[in-house]
Subunit: 347 residues, 2 copies
């Protein structure tokens, strides 16, 4: 096949044909993938079905100067997978809409798809179709993902009660500091090694599917769960939306990496600020009944990703407190994290 330079030359149908050839591996449950008006598949009995969709658009969610097409594809899929993890589910199927400027090169599209495919392969997700359209200016990606969970083991945002204990997987704040580094002209405030760690956490997040499944398969009573996309403070607030609950966080237990600690030392930042407000960590934030704390810790002893016991649910409605290392307890101002429609909150 001769080398195609861009979409205008290849055309819509040429592109569909080109892409279809990359996604011809079906699982038994997918009866028809790419190439018809719909994809056709079956669901497993005794499951609850999960659906989520996320759109990313150039200049708002990503900057092609700081993310490679392969990383973009990988991240777009991973972010969607994280929504399935947040409910305790397992992803199995996805469709993708791409809005492409006419000048987009086929090489770029191939790399984007290699990133999408890498993420799909890692989590055994069948990419069964989508829509590819011209976009007048900006590139956009929309993914719709399906997952499933064992009935009665779906974890919702609402459900926590006063006394429930708050946990989080992994480290927080790395992704936001990674973004800061990507945008910063002077990148020397972190060592090469630490900088790579932080940037990687931002560009190639790992959705916590393994940990979500571990929880779902256990008999730990998980009373609420969410993935951290907007920052700990804001996502914890999402768990406290009922009239009756708030939360206390223990500063000394908030988990962060050596890389974040070093970057903060260098710039005289307080790591706690990055942990509370930094978004896109894609770690799982969840609450459990107090009597299951030991059971949970045992469950996670052998996992690669640690969990941290970072606080507890209170009966102070909609207030989040921080018990500082100094012993003092303060109410957090609940400044909102990333809001797409507010100007420049992140820059």
């Amino acid at each position: 096949m001769r080398e195609m330079k861009n979409l205008k030359q290849l055309g819509e149908f040429g592109l569909i044909e080109h892409l279809s050839s990359k996604f011809n591996t079906y699982s038994k449950r997918v009866k028809k993938g790419i190439g018809d008006d719909c994809a056709v598949f079956s669901t497993l009995s005794n499951t609850s079905q999960l659906i989520s969709t996320d759109a990313l658009i150039e200049s708002i969610h990503f900057d092609l100067k700081t993310i490679s097409p392969k990383q973009l594809g990988f991240k777009a899929m991973s972010v969607n997978i994280s929504d399935i993890a947040a409910m305790g589910g397992t992803p199995y199927l996805a469709v993708i809409s791409l809005g492409l400027p006419k000048t987009t090169s086929i090489k770029f599209i191939d790399k984007l798809y290699s990133g999408l495919k890498k993420s799909c392969d890692l989590y055994n997700i069948q990419l069964v179709g989508g829509d590819t359209i011209a976009s007048p200016k900006h590139l956009f990606i929309n993914i719709c993902i399906l997952g499933e969970a064992v009935k009665n083991r779906v974890f919702y945002r609402k459900g926590a009660r006063p006394g429930d204990q708050i946990f989080v997987t992994g480290n927080l704040g790395d992704s936001a500091m990674g973004l800061k580094l990507l945008r910063s002209k002077n990148k020397s405030f972190a060592s090469k090694n630490h900088s790579d760690t932080l940037v990687k956490k931002h560009l190639e997040p790992t959705p916590r599917i393994k940990e979500a499944r571990l929880l779902a398969k256990s008999n730990v009573k998980v009373t609420s769960m969410i993935d951290i996309s907007d920052g700990l403070e804001q996502d914890l607030a999402h768990l406290c939306t009922t009239e009756k609950i708030g939360a206390t966080l223990y500063e000394k237990n908030l988990p962060f990496s050596e890389a974040l600690r070093n970057a903060c030392l260098e710039k005289e930042y307080n790591p706690t600020d990055w942990i509370l407000q930094g978004g896109e960590d894609y770690e799982l934030l969840f609450t459990i009944t107090p009597r299951d704390v030991k059971k949970l810790n045992r469950l996670f002893t052998k996992t690669d990703i640690p969990i941290s016991h970072i606080g507890e649910i209170t009966n102070i409605p909609k207030k989040i407190q921080l018990k500082k290392k100094t012993g003092k307890t303060i109410f957090l101002k609940m400044t909102k994290g990333f809001d797409h429609f507010k100007p420049n909150k992140r820059s």
Copy 2:
């Protein structure tokens, strides 16, 4: 609630709250709609699941000068529903991603949603969530829709054999002529009445769910099916992609409306060109085994929408012939219909 003028003032979370209040009616099978990381639902046993996604972007797929926000919402949903109809299925659930310029007024969004909701209500579709993001310039809408079909009664694009008879629902070409009228400075080439019919067919298409269900429930052997979005010629070509088949169309049987006939007379156009190449009709094009022709005609005697017997499948690979009214048979050139990446094919 005070009057909000645009998104910048309302913010992302304010908007989500504002929209959620409009979609709080759940069916029994939807356990969780808007407001969590995923929507949670169940599927019916003994069904095949169908999934499709379609993206529309301003300046490529629609022009806000010629379509109202309510019509845009209605059409965006209807186009997706048509993909479910094309497989013989019934839609039941959808998620929507909206990319909105920051200056979008809340009034505009409300009207857009009223159109989406009107279509959902007509076809009993639960709108269970989505993603709302800022778009740097152009408005876009992505819908992902789920449907289901009785097992072994899913109709695919591939499956027709030589001798199978070709049918189509409704009239063809109206939508393309409606678009021509919308874009034309001189609209007087069609009477007000006819012009309204044609424009309505373009702006408010009716997906043929009722007719698809009628076929699915019958014992007519449907060997292939597609909905006409790119034009009869091109979509028929999609049914003839295997090495072994082609098709003959009978010009005298091609169905078109009085409105199209009149507009063509006025402009000295040949209606057949509009029927063959005009897109976005969203009628069903399907083939059946020859022995079921009578059965099919009986099935459709009492329906509002007529069907037309427009041709048959041949053994001339990938060639579409037109048997003209004059008796002469010509091979169609198979010019492609609307291709998003080719410049200005429709204007």
